[in-house]
């Protein structure tokens, strides 16, 4: 047993439980303190892997594989969790939702994601997913007095349970036909005995279960409702870290146990990618609620992220990692802006509420404009490089048609991002947003996002060397 490698996870679990205990037993509102501790914990969790030299190896009897890939992902998972907490502060306060459970649940969710991205065994995979999902179900319904939030939580739970069922069914099939739940064991069995239809069926079920988690079409139905119904900080979190964790896990699954049957999963991934990018692009066209719009946008973006995975190989994983990293940075910036949408009557979520923003709040209008163009993938913003890295490998392994399809979907998608820009710059008469007290969190998050979006592209893509390390470690 090698406990050192999973020490961060153990500590995170202990601290989360400890904070839960404190929150329950102490009188008075402990939420602010617990949130600050949780933020600190997440930042430490993010940094501990890379800072301590990124030691790697199998852990927990081979259930987990702590490698550069896991370190890379945990870094971004931890930071995006911390950012979500930081941004949630003023929203939860003004909406009178400032309960300590929010921070604790988020810690558990990040813990689950940490397990997911380092899973080396079907059971670890399942445990990670469930730990994450159960925390997220509760977070979706966090505003329990709101009908829509409860509905969102319930919907998410029911559909999530179905997807877990699919996943388990797939795992049992694979176990039945290969005799192993260990990734290496499955890979060895597939390599020596060849594959049977049972393994393929199992793999397809597992991929479907995972597709549900990344909200890839046709398993995307829950996304718009959950995004819309959940409180905005929860949506902000949903859109970033869980997506990254789930798609990273998907990469692990197809590269690890099922590496030998690439021609089989490739077609599944291609179908998922194609459907997602077009469902996302077309579905978003008529949305009026900005959270629903972001839901469809995330569906489309998952479609793009699947393109490099479909092309397979180290280059493919690298492309996916770069794309997803850039995506979560942009999405955090966007939600930082969405969380600012509050006028005298309270929180507003309609896109039309942004009208005239370029007059009433220049800073936010400039930032949101850059973020939208970045999501569109227009150079010189960082989003363009995300797509570039995501697509170029696919183009050189004979999937040019898929790349062309993705690019055309992104042109359709450009339409609705443009609509937001248009409403901010070309429409008049929106009511001014009230600047919330804790604008430090907003300013810092958005400025970090802006620096990444605008200046970094001209200097270099910073994480490149690191990403290379991470994607190599998977092979």
């Amino acid at each position: 047993m090698n406990y050192q490698l999973i020490l961060p996870e153990i500590l995170l679990a202990l601290c989360a439980s400890f904070l839960l205990g404190i929150g329950v037993s102490k009188k008075g509102n402990r939420a602010p303190v617990i949130r600050n501790v949780a933020i600190a914990l997440l930042v430490i969790y993010a940094l501990v892997g890379p800072v301590l030299g990124g030691r790697s190896g199998p852990a927990a009897n081979g259930m987990l594989m702590i490698d550069a890939y896991a370190h890379y992902l945990k870094f971004f998972l931890g930071l995006s969790g911390a950012a979500a907490l930081l941004l949630s502060k003023s929203y939860l306060k003004t909406e009178k939702l400032d309960h300590f459970e929010f921070s604790v649940l988020l810690l558990y969710a990040v813990l689950g994601m940490g397990v997911m991205v380092s899973a080396n065994n079907m059971l670890a995979l399942y445990i990670g997913i469930e730990l994450q999902s159960l925390a997220l179900y509760v977070m979706a319904a966090f505003n329990r007095d709101s009908l829509r939030a409860s509905e969102a939580g319930l919907k998410y739970f029911v559909l999530g349970a179905i997807s877990s069922g699919l996943l388990l069914y797939g795992i049992t099939l694979v176990y039945g036909f290969t005799g192993s739940v260990d990734f290496d064991g499955i890979a060895a069995a597939v390599a020596s005995n060849g594959y049977s239809s049972g393994v393929i069926a199992g793999m397809v079920f597992i991929l479907c279960g995972l597709a549900f988690k990344i909200s890839a079409a046709p398993f995307h139905m829950w996304t718009p409702d959950v995004y819309e119904g959940s409180p905005a900080p929860v949506t902000a979190f949903f859109a970033s870290a869980p997506k990254l964790a789930a798609i990273a896990l998907m990469a692990r699954v197809i590269i690890g146990p099922f590496d030998g049957i690439m021609d089989q999963w490739q077609s599944v991934i291609i179908v998922l990618a194609l459907l997602s990018m077009f469902v996302g692009a077309v579905g978003a066209l008529m949305q009026t609620n900005i959270k629903r719009l972001m839901a469809y946008s995330s569906i489309a973006n998952m479609g793009y992220a699947l393109v490099p995975l479909a092309s397979g190989g180290e280059e493919g994983v690298r492309g996916m990692l770069i794309f997803m990293t850039i995506y979560i940075i942009s999405i955090t910036g966007i939600f930082a802006c969405i969380l600012q949408m509050r006028n005298r009557d309270g929180v507003v979520e309609q896109i039309s509420d942004l009208s005239g923003l370029s007059r009433t709040n220049r800073g936010m209008a400039f930032s949101l404009t850059a973020l939208m163009f970045s999501l569109m993938g227009i150079p010189p913003l960082l989003g363009f490089f995300g797509k570039l890295f995501a697509f170029w490998h696919a183009a050189s392994v004979g999937l040019v048609w898929l790349v062309v399809a993705a690019l055309i979907a992104s042109v359709i998608g450009a339409f609705y991002y443009l609509r937001i820009v248009k409403i901010m710059w070309m429409d008049e008469g929106g009511r001014e947003f009230i600047a919330p007290p804790a604008s430090l969190a907003w300013t810092s998050t958005v400025s970090v996002a802006m620096v990444f979006l605008t200046i970094i592209p001209f200097i270099a893509i910073p994480a490149r060397g690191w990403v290379e390390q991470a994607s190599t470690s998977l092979f």
Binding site: F366, S396, V404, V411, L418
Partner: protein, 508 residues
């Protein structure tokens, strides 16, 4: 003089840095300071663009026209994987940099009085636009080129959409999505080339020089790649039948927006053909040239006829731009000395003439707020100076000898004549038709009875308007009587391009 300085990067990025600085300042300043900034932003922009223009002139003076090599090159590591930050100019791109700097300067200068709202954002948008446009002409890396090429859409979308006319939102969407759709096909081709070059050379590269000189693409692939690049450049150019975004964009854009659109952005397409399609896909350029010729001739004749029927002055000029770009595409794809020299000349001269015409429209639009041809008439009495300039530029647009318009058209037609006399004949009818619509416009607006009472008190041009048009007029005439100013600089590079093309296609 510029041996140790990354002069091209400096020219390219000064406007962007100032623009970002302006954005930053607006964020931290209060209400009073903002008011002050609204007044000062145009001055800042004017200083910056003047500096850029002077630097670009110095660049030309230091440019060595006797070599076809790229000059003032700079190479920095950029995003890795063979993709470098590489800038440089040769005879083909050199003058476009100057043209961009010159027109942006004029636009900023002319906008001081005609733009009434959101001065800071307007100046920021133009400065950012200048960076991207100069970047396109200096980029020597495929990805870097694409970056600038597509980035132009962002500021242009904002310029048309915020400061445009009544139907501005529709026009800005149409402009953006149309050109984006074209460019993404090119991006797919770029990605394919990247993968192919990585295999051919055993190392990935997107260096434009290496790709066009050393990469030997199979003929079958060339056709597809050529078409993908064509989709992007044809929309930008714009060529018939994908020109329909242009009239809308021109009509709705503010004057300076139209000037940049007609003066520079349309040239990006032609520049792309010269820089990529001809040298990188020579076989496809030969086999698909008839397609270009047909489209060019149709563009020249059809859009000239359409132009004649327009009721809106800007729309008329927009269609005439499409027709003039037809000469450019024709000249490029005959691939001989006169044709390509003429195409480059025509692009530069059209940049000046169409810019001038749009400034002319801006002058009366600022006074009367309409571009309806029927509204005007008999302006010559109230505005004699205006009538003079309008006459000059109308004649230049028609291609009257002595103006720069003549040189471009005659050169491209000589080039086309060597290739196929029917093509040249088709294009020649376009010259006649251009006289028809241009003189029709001039007669309707400047001459005739002044039937509209509202025109009684119209003022003649102010001093700063005269300054803008006079500077353009000088350029148009000088280039018309002394075309070697341009052709001497471009000659060696063009010759080199043609030689390589002939070797590649086996015509030598």
């Amino acid at each position: 003089m510029f041996d140790d300085v990354p002069i091209l990067s400096i020219i390219t990025f000064i406007p962007l840095i100032v623009a970002l600085f302006l954005i930053f300042i607006t964020h931290i300043s209060g209400e009073d300071a903002l008011e002050q900034l609204e007044k000062n932003a145009p001055r800042v922009a004017l200083i910056v663009t003047t500096v850029v223009f002077i630097l670009s002139l110095l660049l030309v003076l230091n440019f060595d026209p006797s070599t076809a090599d790229y000059q003032f090159t700079e190479t920095f590591t950029w995003i890795g994987g063979g993709i470098e930050y590489r800038m440089g100019v040769d005879g083909i791109s050199m003058l476009f940099v100057v043209l961009t700097a010159f027109l942006t300067l004029l636009c900023i200068f002319a906008s001081q009085s005609s733009i009434k709202s959101r001065m800071i954002e307007y100046m920021v948008a133009f400065l950012i636009l200048e960076t991207f446009m100069i970047g396109v002409f200096c980029a020597l890396d495929l990805i870097l080129f694409y970056l600038f090429f597509e980035a132009v859409l962002i500021p242009m979308f904002i310029i048309i959409g915020v400061w445009g006319g009544k139907n501005r939102v529709y026009a800005s969407y149409k402009f953006f999505l149309y050109t984006l759709l074209g460019s993404v096909l090119m991006l797919a081709a770029v990605l394919w080339i990247y993968g192919y070059a990585a295999q051919e050379f055993d190392r990935p590269t997107t260096n434009i020089e290496t790709l066009s000189n050393e990469l030997d693409l199979p003929v079958g692939a060339q056709t597809w790649l050529w078409l993908a690049f064509f989709a992007s450049f044809a929309v930008k150019m714009p060529m018939w039948p994908v020109h329909t975004w242009l009239p809308d964009a021109h009509v709705e854009a503010p004057t300076a927006g139209s000037v940049i659109l007609a003066g520079i952005l349309l040239k990006l397409g032609g520049y792309g053909f010269l820089r990529f399609s001809v040298p990188m896909f020579p076989d496809a350029s030969v086999s698909l040239a008839p397609l270009i010729f047909w489209m060019s001739i149709i563009a020249i004749i059809y859009t000239s006829l359409v132009a004649y029927r327009q009721k809106d002055i800007k729309k008329l000029i927009a269609y005439s731009s499409v027709a003039h770009m037809g000469f450019v595409t024709m000249g490029i794809f005959v691939v001989n000395m006169q044709g390509i020299q003429g195409a480059i000349f025509q692009m530069l001269s059209h940049g000046l003439i169409s810019a001038a015409l749009f400034f002319c429209v801006g002058v009366i639009y600022d006074r009367m707020h309409t571009r309806d041809i029927a509204f005007y008439g008999g302006l010559v009495k109230a505005m004699p100076v205006y009538a003079f300039f309008m006459m000059l530029f109308t004649m230049a647009n028609v291609g009257l000898p002595g103006t720069s318009g003549f040189i471009g058209e005659i050169l491209t037609m000589i080039g086309a004549f060597q290739y196929n006399s029917w093509i040249a004949a088709g294009a020649a009818t376009g010259m006649i038709l251009s006289a028809v619509y241009a003189l029709h416009l001039y007669r309707a607006v400047i001459f005739g009875e002044q039937s509209n009472d509202k025109l009684d008190n119209i003022e003649d041009m102010k001093r700063h308007e005269i300054a803008v048009l006079a500077s353009l007029a000088v350029m148009v005439i000088v280039l018309g009587v002394y075309p070697s100013l341009i052709t001497d600089i471009t000659a060696v590079s063009v010759e080199n391009l043609i030689n390589r093309f002939n070797v590649a296609t086996g015509q030598e």
